[in-house]
Amino acid sequence: MSAVTQLSRRDKMLLHCAPLCEEHADEHALRTAIHHAKKTEAYVTQQNFDKAATALVQRVAIPREIVEWIPTETFIAPPRRPWKKYAQHPAFLATGIAVLVIAIVGIIQLVERLNRFPGQTTAQRLLITASSNKSMMLDPVKADAGALGDFLFMKHRLVHYDVPAEFADLKALGARVFDDEEGQRVAQIWVVEKKMQFFMFPAERDVKTGAAKHFNGWRYVDQDRWTGVVREDKGVCFMAALRGGEKDLAPYVSKKKE
């Protein structure tokens, strides 16, 4: 009995329920308690007691009427396969993974669509242009970028091709006007600071009405390690582009200018 007193209270409690067959101990805590007590005198005595009582019960005579009355068919419903079993079936697993992938792709596309803005395709194309340009390809100028709006209007008849106040004070090195792949007039200005380039191009238009599609505020766009920040005003989009990330452009667009 002294060995039993060393067992925990929980073990002692569980040992009263210790079955004779190991497979009947279907809970971890009970198996642990049995393992702890296996060699104790009290446990052995209890098991011998239970074995004798069980043997006595098995001696209960079964009347002939009972044996004859046992039906040939079973009344127990076939076991239902739990949902986990179904989930582990290769066909269901494959279908589940496919649905998950489709859902993820769908969500990504939806998020991208929500973040898209009119003129984004043109802006991305112009970022490729920016990455392959050299400053010497432009006509040299010596002026503030903000002053080039009049130049573009006077020389190229480009209305509202103005540099926003946020970028107007930056010194320009060169400028040019060219037609892009879609025949749109694009103005390009090269500034000294951070070898930044400005692009001004017509805003995307509604196919039916021909009206410019507006959007508010600054929108970021990136392409091959180049980042641009775009704003639409009076049917013309302005994009400031540089080689770098959003954090390089953010200081410019976050400052308030009158």
Binding site: A42, Q46, L56, V57, V60, I62, T72, F75
Partner: protein, 160 residues
Amino acid sequence: MADEQKQDLLQLYRFCFLMLADAAKAQEIFHATLREAAQLSADGESPRDRLWFFRNARWRCLEAGEQGLRAEEVDFEQGELGDGAPSQIEKLDPEQFAIWISAAPDPQRTALALFYLNEFSYSDLLSVTELKPPELSKLLGNGRREFQAWLDATFPTTQT
């Protein structure tokens, strides 16, 4: 019917017998339980598992026990389990053990009857008796000691 299920039904009769200590009543309840299972099966609502039979028979036995003569509820004496208990138990008839078990108050009666069928896992026992682990433990532990005291009174040490 599989041998395992046939064995379950034989054990069901033994369970009824232990609960009532009356072969005729045990047979009656065994038949009533099987009839209900057959009826449910015919209605397309077959019992989910073998435990259903024992739960059903348990309540029928308790109901039958209420109607007949009832043993007076007394606090049994308790004795420490001894090494000589197996030989004391061997001297008993199954009917004597059934009388002793059927005299125990429920849920101890159900717990002892099910436990000594040596048919159920620990979680099955908890499920059919609807007891919590400490309750089942207490009832089985006390049951053993009370049965030991009864054995000691029935077969005093001088006789063993």
